[in-house]
């Protein structure tokens, strides 16, 4: 059932690993997804782009995975970027969970990779949040 819920594809764009999740992330597949994504980030990489453009659903466990990845990468001096269009329905969940506090959210993989490369060229510290402020709770 795990395989059916979501598929994960790992790619590289300008040396930046990109993990694309198509489908749904919930309790049942989050652990496996997290494991495979983490394994796909080389130590020398600048960071990781998690592509949620084709992710139709993610639950709190999925959000938790993003926090865990951010923390893990941060410890290794790497950055997590999340690519999700502004109008995606799941965007609301990221904002409510205050994901932008730990990872920059870009509108697309292209933007995310470019932003990451530009950031690392400028400063070596962690990038500030990309101007996104959490929405107040409804």
């Amino acid at each position: 059932m795990t395989g059916q819920l979501a598929t994960l594809s790992m790619a590289e764009s300008d040396g930046v690993p990109v993990a694309s999740v198509t489908g749904e992330i919930d309790l049942t597949n989050v652990a496996e997804l997290g494991e495979r994504i983490a394994r796909g980030v080389p130590n020398g990489a600048l960071g990781l782009v998690v592509d949620l453009e084709r992710t139709s659903f993610l639950d709190s466990a999925g959000l938790r995975l993003l926090f865990q990845l951010a923390r893990r990468l941060e410890r290794r001096g790497q950055q997590l970027r999340i690519a999700v269009p502004d109008n995606a329905v799941i965007r609301k969940a990221l904002d409510v969970a205050e994901v932008p506090r730990v990872a920059v959210v870009n509108g697309s993989v292209h933007d995310a990779v470019a932003d990451l490369l530009a950031q690392s060229a400028g400063t070596s510290g962690p990038a500030p949040p990309s101007g996104q402020t959490p929405k107040p709770a409804r």
């Binding site: 919930d26 659903f57 639950d59 709190s60 466990a61 969940a93």
Partner: protein, 949 residues
């Protein structure tokens, strides 16, 4: 030995006198007595010695007292010394000893068998036993002889109609014989026969009547046998009128007879006899005026007759009549004095029920002087006369008058009617299997034959008296019910009294107001009821009610009372039978129901309904069953089956199968495997049982239906778009057909709005019709059966029944997949994270139907998913845990509810807590209710549809 001989003798002899003599002889031989004899019991109980054939033997003086003693005793009496025994007060001077025993059969004493000897102490107990054995054999033989005599007497009574015929025959002033076909045996001959023939005895056969060698044609030629008139009538059906025959009479003189003869045929036209009449025409010259002769004849024997006799001359003059005729017709003396039949007729027509018909009939007969006729005459007062008339034929064969016989057969007619009435009532009651039919039958039988008003009252279980249907016929004969008050069982109402006392009572007046209700009394008065009969309805030793009859005319007589009692007895039995039948049927149905689900589950998203109709009118339970079982994974198992046969055996097998199916269902066994296992179970029950079953599982998605069928009729699906489909797949042999059967599983799809119908073959089968016709009919009916599942069942049943009474039991189970737009979304899901995806899928589908925007859908699904994950965690560790999800719209507000049945645990760790917080922030409101049985989370969110996008 002697007794055995006596036994053989009594089998040969039937004459009581000979038997007794034989017994006395045997006793004498066996006992070595000087005297043995039988004393007979007379009509008044007196004992008298049978006159002995041996004149020399005289009765010993003491025998009488000895016999009297024996008659009063069950045991043989042995007296060793007749002079001194103080048991014999009347003992004579004569000495010696004696033994005596009563000849008795089942309490009926025929006499005493006694033996005497001049010596003392001659008889031992052994002798007494021997004597008693002889007496017993004798008693049995006498009883046999007596019962035979009794039967002969009854036989004689049955001959009464023949006697009547003879009376008529005797009245005819000619020789009359009736000879039976084919042998010509003479069974009836009047006294004129031997007088005319001048013989001492009546001849026995047609040949003996006129012997061929003594019978000559007028030309002197001798008759041959086949030419004899009676023989010709019997053999060839010839009708002979006034054939002149010269005969040699019994005293050797010669005479000329005028002989007429005609065959008697039965309804089929077969000749069963012939009648011949003849009279001596030799003496015609010397004869007096014939009418005078016959008048004397009639007067001689007519007065004693039970029949009224009237002789009328061709010119309408009354020639002769007897006293009984006057009594029967009540004709005034002065009318009789006129001697005019016309006057007599007009004086009686007033009394008749149909005067016109009567007069017409008389006229006809006077116009046809040769005709004989027999018919019945009805009177206004209810009497009925039997009338027989025949012409009196004079010299030369011309009729010279007519004789009429009248007999009052009112009693016989009434007895016949009563018999018929009772027979019809019984026949009506026998067929009745329900109270209304019994009541209707009794009322219909009683009104107006026995009464003008009829009512049946029944004692209820609580002692109250129910007044069931009543019927009254007013004077115009119109039936209608009357109004009446309830009866106080403790009151003085005749019905209450009859129920309490069990006594039948008749009334010659209406009971006063107060005893019966005012309205009842008024209604009875309006009807003209003047009296009546109240008969208790008693059956099998208890009073079930009372039959009340009202009479408007004459106060009920003894016969009516007797008849009412008879009707009440039959009605009571019928009512008791009905009550018994209903009780037994109730027991059977209760048993059946106890084996069927008390109530059907109503899984979220489905509507279920079931029906069970016991077939036919039998009281045996059938082996049909159905079941619906909610499964732990949120699916629903649907089972229907039919054990071949009826009765407790079938019901018990059915009980087994039902339970086993439940176990497999809850265990999640796939349908095909469950079916195979159940077939093996049926094999092990091992009495050649056969059963069909359909086992289907509807998956939690409410779409996928998996099924296996053990020879069961295919389930029917009425799809949302109205087209119908039989699911023929997955069908294999019935249980019990073979020991190992491989069952296949087939899968079908249901969609929201579809209705699945499982049924047993009783629903579609009709005698003498191929099964396909039944399937086709069901499909046609189901297509139009509507959306609401209860109504669907009712419609299918009533439309299929269509006046046909189902011979077999019918079970049906209908399942409708509720369309989301029909309202709420109900899901029952297993407490397994894997169920979350299904929940989200159903919810997305439902929210789309509710026109939620994609964003709204995500947020609601997110929140509900969190609540459900929490519920799964609550149920964690519980066996077969599950949770329920429900969502519905309240206006534009979506309300979702997640219910679990586990213990509430505080959120574990930060993340779970965070999940709940996120859930809360997605919704307009979140409420958590904790109950003893679990937790309920209620989420609300107003939908703005596309506006929120």
């Amino acid at each position: 030995m002697a007794i055995a001989r006596l036994g053989r003798l009594v089998h040969a002899a039937r004459d009581p006198a000979a038997l007794m003599d034989e017994a006395a002889g045997v006793a004498a031989e066996a006992l070595d007595a000087e005297w043995t004899g039988v004393l007979e019991v007379g009509e008044r109980g007196e004992l008298s010695l049978r006159p002995s054939s041996d004149a020399s033997a005289s009765e010993p003086a003491a025998v009488d007292a000895l016999a009297r003693r024996a008659l009063g005793s069950d045991e043989p009496v042995v007296v060793t010394d007749l002079t001194t025994d103080d048991r014999l007060p009347a003992a004579g001077s004569e000495g010696g000893s004696g033994v005596a025993t009563a000849i008795r059969y089942r309490g009926r004493s025929y006499g005493v068998l006694a033996a005497w000897s001049s010596q003392r102490t001659m008889f031992s107990d052994e002798d007494a036993r021997l004597l008693r054995a002889a007496a017993n054999v004798l008693a049995e033989a006498l009883e046999l002889a007596r019962s035979e005599r009794e039967q002969r007497r009854l036989g004689t009574a049955l001959e009464s109609e023949r006697t009547r015929l003879r009376a008529i025959v005797e009245s005819i002033p000619a020789g009359v014989v009736l000879a039976e076909a084919p042998a010509g045996r003479i069974t009836v001959a009047n006294r004129h026969v031997s007088a005319i023939l001048r013989r001492d005895n009546t001849p026995h056969t047609a040949f003996g009547l006129l012997k061929p060698d003594h019978t000559f044609h007028p030309d002197g030629r001798q008759y041959v046998g086949e030419e004899l008139p009676l023989v010709r009538s019997i053999a060839r059906g010839e009708v002979i009128t006034g054939e002149e025959v010269d005969v040699v009479l019994g005293d050797g003189t010669r005479a000329t007879l005028s002989v007429s003869s005609a065959p008697v045929r039965d309804l089929l036209g077969n000749i069963v006899a012939a009648v011949a009449t003849f009279f001596d025409v030799t003496a015609r010259k010397e004869a007096q005026d014939s009418l005078q002769l016959h008048r004397a004849l009639l007067e001689a024997q007519g007065e004693a007759s039970i029949e009224g006799i009237l002789v009328v001359s061709p010119d309408g003059r009354i020639v002769s009549f007897n006293r009984r005729f006057v009594e029967l017709w009540n004709i005034p003396e002065d009318v009789l004095a006129t001697g005019s039949d016309e006057a007599a007729l007009s004086s009686v027509t007033e009394q008749l029920a149909d005067p016109g018909g009567f007069i017409a009939r008389v006229r006809y007969l006077y116009e046809h002087p040769e005709d004989s006729a027999s018919d019945e005459i009805g009177f206004r007062d209810g009497r009925t006369f039997d009338r027989y008339t025949t012409p009196l034929v004079g010299e030369g064969g011309e009729p010279y008058g007519r004789i009429w016989f009248f007999r009052d057969i009112t009693e016989r007619k009434r007895a016949e009617e009563r018999q018929r009435f009772l027979a019809e009532t019984s026949a009506g009651l026998e067929a009745a299997l329900d109270l209304p039919t019994v009541v209707e039958s009794v009322c219909e039988a009683c009104v107006p034959f026995l009464a003008d008003f009829c009512e049946i009252n029944l004692v209820q279980a609580d002692g109250a008296i129910a007044r069931l249907g009543n019927r009254a016929a007013d004077r115009a004969g119109v039936s209608r019910a009357i109004e009446r008050e309830p009866i106080d069982p403790r009151g003085e109402h005749p019905v209450a009294v009859a129920v309490r006392t069990g006594q039948l009572r008749s009334f010659d007046a209406l009971p006063p107001a107060g005893v019966i209700g005012a309205r009842e009394r008024e209604a009875a008065l309006r009807l003209g009821v003047r009296g009546g009969i109240v008969a208790p309805l008693r059956a099998r030793g208890r009073t079930v009610g009372a039959l009340a009859l009202g009479h408007t005319g004459a106060v009920p007589g003894g016969e009516d009372v007797e008849l009412a009692g008879e009707v009440a007895r039959r009605a009571a039995l019928a009512i008791d039978n009905v009550l018994l039948y209903e009780r037994e049927r109730n027991v059977a149905e209760t048993l059946q129901r106890s084996l069927l689900p008390q109530e059907l589950p109503q899984p979220p998203g489905l509507a279920l309904a079931a029906r069970y109709l016991p077939g036919g009118r039998g009281i045996e339970v059938g082996g049909d069953w159905y079941d619906a079982i909610p499964l732990p994974d949120g699916g629903t198992a649907l089972v229907i089956g039919d054990v071949v046969g009826r009765g407790l055996r079938a019901a018990s097998v059915m009980g087994h199968l039902r339970n086993v199916a439940r176990v497999y269902a809850l265990d999640g066994t796939p349908p095909a495997r469950a079916a195979a296992a159940m077939n093996r179970l049926v094999e092990t029950i091992g009495q050649g049982e056969m059963a069909t079953m359909l086992y289907a599982v509807l998956e939690p998605d409410l779409t996928t239906l998996r099924l296996a069928s053990a020879g069961h009729p295919p389930p029917l699906v009425v799809h949302a778009d109205g087209h119908v489909e039989y699911l023929e797949g997955g069908r294999s042999l019935p249980f019990g057909a073979m020991s190992h059967i491989v069952y296949d599983e087939s899968s079908s799809k249901l969609e929201p709005g579809a209705t699945l119908l499982l049924y047993t073959d009783g629903l579609i089968e009709r005698r003498g019709e191929p099964l396909e016709a039944g399937l086709e009919r069901l499909a046609g009916i189901a297509r139009r059966a509507g959306d609401e599942v209860e109504g669907f069942c009712d419609h299918v049943l009533s439309a299929l029944a269509d006046g046909h009474e189902a011979a077999d039991d019918v079970a049906l189970l209908a399942v409708r997949v509720l369309p989301p737009e029909a309202g709420a979304l109900h899901l029952r899901l297993p407490a397994d994270p894997a169920a979350l995806a299904a929940l989200r899928q159903s919810l997305v589908h439902w929210l789309r139907q509710a026109h939620a925007s994609d964003q709204e859908i995500f947020e609601i699904v997110f929140a509900c998913n969190e609540a459900a994950a929490n519920a799964i965690e609550h149920a964690y560790g519980l066996e077969q845990g599950s949770f329920e999800f429900e969502a519905h719209m309240e206006g534009d507000e979506m309300v979702a509810c997640v219910r679990d049945f586990g213990r509430w645990r505080p959120a574990r760790g930060q993340h779970r807590g965070r999940g709940l917080e996120l859930m809360d922030r997605m919704m307009d409101s979140t409420e958590v209710h904790r109950h003893e049985r679990g937790t309920e989370v209620r989420l609300r969110r107003r939908l703005r549809g596309g506006a929120a996008r």
